[in-house]
Symmetry: C2
Subunit: 404 residues, 2 copies
């Protein structure tokens, strides 16, 4: 047994794979299953364990991947977005650096306990966080050609996977993760493997569409291969995904910085969009969660009341309220937190968002409306309480403590 962040985990006795499918709104699976595109999944949902869980808020990639691999909320691990305002340096920075991570990962702890670990992510932005203090294999599809034994615990990845390095905006970036996972399991059989994809397809294509079903069929073939290799598989997601458009298919955006500039004066407040990362082509940095820093003479409660009354807004909370409700680190969020509704997103200033590259009606995430995610295991676990609030960061607990 090991203990990580006050949860205990048994060491894997069987090769175990935890998969985080980026942007996997549960309907993607349901409609792909209904269309016959996921025969392995259909069988597994009946013979294994099928739960719907809540992800952490903000329903973004980094906070949730870190919750899954630490088994804890952002209040514990500290990663509450892809992007934050660092009060200490008075600058806005990416949260990719492991210096932001406040908790150890289950991955690193298993490696320390002598188990062999492999981590494959689609985008490289997650690699350094997931691989923090990890002895083992850890590389991304995006930079698979640059992987070295010294840095990534593996080299010659392209020769192993037999695929070229995919485009960063492509379904193949995720396919590469799965194919690499199968090859690793066939050749090196790690004790534990963590696979994390990217949501390029989910940002562009609704559940049940041809492109979505083709992506999930690809997933299904690779999951079936891992299953055939005898692996225990736990599959969950970092967040869901919803359409965020007006009737004319343009994004339905509330530009919060523009509004605050109008209300309180230009330059007096700072709206932060934690969805921001270098890869914004498919969502234009528009998500359903924002946080804002206010000057001392502006009352956060009054701002919450005023913002909360807007048509586009689902809830507006003070720092303390948001930290409690969403289990966030209070020192890394602003004075207020704003969550928009299922069909709306939050921007900063209209002039700062380049939406010219959006070639499909906006689909995005970040809010409570994208909190539902699948939590599926290919082993039946008896006696689970269906009324319990399952979390995506219960994946390691279920996989290691209950499914083997």
């Amino acid at each position: 047994m090991i203990e990580v962040n006050q949860r205990s985990y048994r060491l894997p006795r069987v090769a175990t794979v935890v998969v985080c499918v980026d942007g996997c709104e549960p309907d993607y699976i349901a409609l792909a299953v209904a269309a016959g595109a996921m025969p392995w999944m259909k069988k597994t949902l009946h013979s294994g364990t099928a739960l719907v869980a809540d992800c952490v808020i903000p329903s973004f990639t980094n906070p949730n991947n870190l919750s899954i691999v630490t088994g804890a909320s952002p209040a514990v691990h500290g990663i509450c977005g892809n992007y934050l305002y660092d009060a200490e340096s008075d600058s806005e920075v990416m949260m990719n650096d492991p210096k932001w991570l406040r908790a150890p990962t289950v991955l690193a702890a298993l490696a320390d306990a002598g188990k062999s670990i492999a981590v494959v992510t689609a985008k490289d932005k997650l690699r350094s966080l997931l691989g923090h203090r990890l002895r083992g294999i850890c590389f991304s599809s995006e930079k698979a050609d640059l992987a070295t034994q010294a840095e990534n615990g593996i080299s010659d990845v392209l020769a192993m996977v037999q695929m070229p390095v995919p485009e960063v905006y492509s379904a193949e970036l995720s396919e590469f993760v799965f194919v690499a996972g199968v090859k690793l399991m066939q050749t090196r059989r790690p004790d534990l493997m963590y696979l994390s994809t990217t949501d390029y397809i989910q940002h562009k294509h609704a559940p049940g569409t041809g492109q979505a079903n083709a992506f999930y069929a690809m997933m299904d073939r690779n999951l079936a291969a891992l299953d055939a290799l005898g692996c225990v598989i736990a599959l969950t997601a970092d967040h869901g995904m919803n359409a965020k458009t007006r009737l004319d298919a343009r994004p339905d955006v509330i530009y919060l910085q523009d509004l605050f500039d109008e209300w309180f004066g230009a330059g007096r407040t700072r709206v932060i969009l934690p969805i921001t990362d270098p890869y914004v082509v498919h969502h234009g940095a528009l998500g359903s969660f924002a946080t804002a820093y206010l000057p001392p003479d502006v009352d956060p409660l009054a701002v919450c009341a005023r913002v909360g009354a807007l048509r586009e807004v689902e809830s507006a909370l003070t720092r303390a309220q948001a930290a409690e409700r969403f289990e966030l680190p209070p020192d890394r969020i602003g004075d207020v937190v704003v969550v928009s509704r299922r069909s709306t997103v939050i921007g900063t200033c209209e002039s700062r968002h380049d939406l010219s590259a959006l070639d499909a009606p906006l689909r995005s995430h970040g809010g409570v409306s994208e909190q539902r995610v699948p939590l599926i295991l290919n082993r039946r676990i008896e006696g689970l309480d269906p009324q319990k609030r399952w979390r995506n960061f219960d994946a390691f607990d279920l996989a290691l403590n209950h499914a083997q």
Copy 2:
């Protein structure tokens, strides 16, 4: 000017068409527009007025059609479902009979003021309510062949429409409504026309799918034809539509009568599903709204607390709370009202729901999650407050008082 249910309406100066598109989740329009399937709509959303409004709860067909044509909530017009428990006769009955209607319609009032009126509905179940005390034309696609001058104000409908009577479960049942509307406008030019479709397509096909886009393309052609005839058009919907399935694509149902029988004893409570009507093939009588009658020794507040804690339930309210929040007639709902979440539906007893005819993953409505509907006019109305809570039953007000 006429006054109906404490709202004033100008008499139409231009031929006016109010369209209720059954089950028109806003995304159907956005994705059809994005796919190029609705060229008229795309133009109209820019040159006219495009709002998103709230329908009335329960988000079912009859309450909302009656709200639209009375300009009032169910608390005023009395139609709070398709189906109710009539305490007086101690029986469960359909609410199709005009005896349940407590308010006059704008349609009948305009006819009384000397205006010519035409009403075309897809299913016949709505016809007698919409046509109550109406002098004018009023018929359904479903029974178009049986329309007579005496009963419906028109005969030989099939010859006019040049289509056979459609199947009751078909897209053509709605197409017939539109084609009849265009023919009526071409040949008789009524001062006001109300067209109400059926949600067969929306129950089976998600927004953006080929079948949905084809349906909306058909709508678009007919709306363009009415526009070309010089009509003022107001388009809204009775309710939205969401997927209601588990990961394996089976309906995600909470069987509330089974649960109450277990908690309180068999036969002691009565769960009513107001979605119930004779046409349940496409939804199995499963929607996201239920009401229940309790024996005197069971405390409604305690039931609400217990039911409200269930994973599938969004809110559970006492009669008084529900009547206030949803503007419902308190004498026609039970002791508690239960609304389920976006992806779940409520049934009575598992044994009473025949789901064998469901040939696609369940999509349904009834809850707050299906409250957003389009409210579109083909005339630009200046000065509308985008932050106002617009209702689908503002359609006649906007069409008659602001768009002409």
